[in-house]
Symmetry: C2
Subunit: 183 residues, 2 copies
DNA sequence: GATGGCAAGTTGACAATGACAACATCAGCA
DNA sequence: TGCTGATGTTGTCATTGTCAACTTGCCATC
């Protein structure tokens, strides 16, 4: 069987690149190494991705979908905790998604995946009737958990020995402005 | 005047690298380009920084100090807004500081600069007596503004046409748990 | 069943980069 | 005067992203 044509190279590359990213970090992720691991020549990836950034964008999009899955079905605090858990569980993927390496504008695929995930958040908040402005609350909630995740990842909360508790407490320390007057 | 010895190479490199970073982004920042701009050979930087990461760490430390300056003297909402303003005003520097490119642990200089800035935040909150747990509130506040900044930077809030107002509103949508009982 | 075209892979090349080693310059001090 | 160490320099290497040109082999069409 001639293996000249790989068959599922695109998927194999994403797999290899994902492995590299998660286990060794973004810096270790080169197109050539991914190609090596997929058992093809150093230029084969260009048949499936216009350039390195395109590969990264695909990995990030995967990440948004995974994150969306992790949030689905949860609400409130629980959703926030799931968000942070995802970030801590996939630090390098998370950083790729939000590290500003990729310009959202240049990768429509990214924008769509990210937008869909955000939508999950907004919907969850829209359900709670006693909140003044659900959209604003959703933005604030996302900001809170996102910032918390990022700062934990970067090691900015050394006092957080027991991460799960810390996360719960921080999220618990916040209230959202109630609807001014139930008119 | 023989210019064999530059005199202030370290500072000149930081200057050049800072320019590159802020104007063209992290990807465009190479040791060699910085050396070129400082008018020295491609290897001169190694006399002042062990490797590229060390240069980046210095740039990030500068950033923490600048951020500290921007926060100093402000409190509450105002401090939060200043935080976001700093991030939006120096996007690439901010991303370098928090993008996870640098491992805090590997650069003590970084840890110290970041810690000092965080201290400013905690102190500001400790002053407010009606808050249950100031340390927790500080962590939550930092998370909130940090996440907000990051998400804005990445373009995740396309609805935020009027950024300043949006920031004010999001920050305003949050309350911190009050002290349970003024014992 | 031959054939021609096109997607998918391959080899080869190039410039840029981070890093190492060996050499050059020069200020200050014994 | 002459040494020495910090600061710069030149030379070199492996790695990487990307472009160009060539190869393979499946599929449709005659």
């Amino acid at each position: 069987m001639s293996t000249y044509h790989h068959g599922g190279l695109r998927a194999a590359l994403l797999q290899a690149a994902g492995d590299l990213l998660e286990k060794q970090g973004l810096a270790a992720l080169s197109l050539r190494e991914a190609a090596r691991r997929a058992g093809v020549s150093h230029n084969a990836p260009y048949r499936h991705f216009p350039d390195r950034d395109a590969l990264l964008a695909s990995l990030a999009s995967e990440g948004y979908r995974q994150l969306g899955e992790a949030l689905k079905g949860r609400a409130g605090r629980e959703m926030g905790e799931a968000y942070v858990r995802f970030a801590l569980g996939h630090p390098n993927r998370f950083r790729l998604m939000f590290g500003g390496v990729l310009a959202m504008a240049a990768h429509p695929e990214l924008r769509e995946a990210a937008g869909a995930t955000y939508e999950t958040l907004v919907v969850a908040f829209r359900a709670q009737r006693d909140i003044a402005d659900p959209a604003l609350a959703a933005a604030a909630a996302w900001s809170l958990v996102h910032g918390l995740a990022q700062l934990l990842l970067d090691g900015h909360f050394p006092e957080a020995r027991a991460r799960d508790d810390f996360v719960r407490q921080v999220i618990g320390a916040v209230r959202f402005a109630a609807a001014p007057r139930p008119a």
